[in-house]
Amino acid sequence: MTNVGGITERPPSLQDHPSDALLAEVRERYPTDQPSQDALDQKYARRRGPGWSPTPLETIADSVRKWMRHEVGPDVEVTDVRWLTGGASKIQAAFTLRPGDGTEQRLLVRMDPPETINCTNKRTEFAVMRAVRDHLPVPDACWIDAEAEYLPEPALICGFAEGVTKPRAATTGQVSGLGTNFGPALRPSLAADFVAHLGTLHTMPIDALRPPDAVAPRVGSTENALWRLNFERQLWELDRAEDVPVMEVAGAWLERNAPALDRASVVHGDYRSGNFLFDESTGRISAVLDWESAHLGDRHADLAYCTQRLYGHYAEDGRTFLASGLLPAEDLYEAYRRTSGLEIDHDRIRWYRMLATYAAIVKTLATSVRVARLGRSHQDVLLTRLEGVVPVLLGQLAVMLEEVL
């Protein structure tokens, strides 16, 4: 081992099971907010446990029954349990809950694999979904099993939202909803809802979100930007299997140029095509999904995120690039200003776009590789395929760095 610039460099295989000393060293060097640190600590503590092995559907059903008897009552029935595909990061099953009063409800249980592409805090996800439900269409967050008391791994139970993530007839769209083409007929109404919901999210009160679920960063300081950067840098240090010089340049530039926060908002953290449901007949968004990266922070993070090229595509004219497959980025910003009443700072958009690209590289080049190498998720074969986005993301990062260096 050698010591370079204050961080002890290690052969990649040693990072399969980082020591307490290494975890403490990285935590001290890259401080982040407590809910994010809790997520990191839980991820690496769970790394010491067994890898992923298939959980029989009956085990899920029995666990949910036990859980629902505790939450709802002894007469509860859990039936019609079936698997759903859960994207790259979640194991999902649908079931019908009959509380014993003659009613029934279709619900969804979302369980983590032992380790996944996203490092998230389930308590934060649950608290944010509860906080936003009076403001936005979201699945009802019903119960949380944060410590895996009932399920084999931490889990949430949510209401079952109706809708589709892409047109049923669509032949485009990658795994995880990347590059979904909604078609010209659906775009105007979906774009209007997409922008309006984002503005609503960023202007809603944040008082309901408190520690330990969420921490509001100090307005007028760079605290938020550095928390978000340092969260990613901890993951990069601990998960990456190779050194990438351009990532070091990006991390250093982001640290030197961290912007101050002007207003603390609820930030979705993964706001893009593929992460909302819509009704094909009306062209309206029926539910905003995937709140696992939500936090209190800077609205520019969502604005930069949803306008990344990876989540968009060219319109039928072959020239107009559609952010999240819906509308040009400048049109999105203008509509957002109009509907939210909030200003947009393009310097902060640029910083958060670079951070979003940096974070996406952390996920695809570091965490996905580490998780698949150790066989820790139900979607290792999908995680390895994400190699395909790495050169695109690193190319974006290089272009952005050339503009600012």
Partner: protein, 177 residues
């Protein structure tokens, strides 16, 4: 003779002709999705396996060129690990008998040394930092262009029409990321 490529194609064909049709009948969406991913990977591996050594040598050449460009700035202190990594990279590239493990090790040493240097730049003069950072970013471009071509079959690139030809990129004929 190595038959990995041929065997991968045979396995890919079995997935297409036999396994996937049987799975589709079960309606198990997770299994069907993963079977498609497995089939696609087998085809991808069949196309790439015979080029892995060539790709690693290309990356070593490109990383060496980046480190040499940094060295040429004339700002590195005596004993800088980048200089030792450059010497080792040159030695491996000049050795026609160097095996792939030696190439990968030399590449990792160069990338590691460059990362270490970038981390120490905060303690150096701003003009030195800027010059080194620009050289590192510029040096990444040929490698990214080649990697875009390498992973093109995975289908994520939002601008596939601009992806350079793989063999040309590995020969260093195209340098636009």
């Amino acid at each position: 003779m190595d038959r990995t490529s041929m065997a991968s194609r045979a396995a890919c064909k079995a997935m297409t002709d036999t396994v996937l049709p049987a799975l589709l009948a079960t309606g198990d969406s997770q299994a069907i999705e993963q079977a498609h991913l497995v089939r696609d990977f087998l085809g991808y591996a069949a196309d790439r396996v015979d080029l892995v050594d060539r790709r690693n040598r290309f990356h070593l050449r490109a990383a060496l060129a980046t480190a040499e460009a940094v060295e040429a700035q004339g700002v590195l202190p005596a004993g800088e690990p980048v200089c030792a990594a450059v010497a080792e990279g040159r030695r491996v590239l000049a050795d026609p008998d160097a095996d792939d493990r030696a190439v990968v090790a030399a590449l990792a040493a160069l990338d590691g040394a460059l990362c270490g240097l970038v981390r120490r730049l905060g303690t150096m003069a701003p003009d030195v930092r800027a010059a080194v950072e620009r050289a590192v970013v510029a040096g990444s471009r040929p490698r990214l262009a080649a990697d875009r071509s390498w992973v093109a079959p995975l289908g994520f690139d939002p601008e596939p029409a601009t992806i350079p030809d793989l063999l040309g990129a590995l020969d260093g004929r195209r340098e636009d990321a």
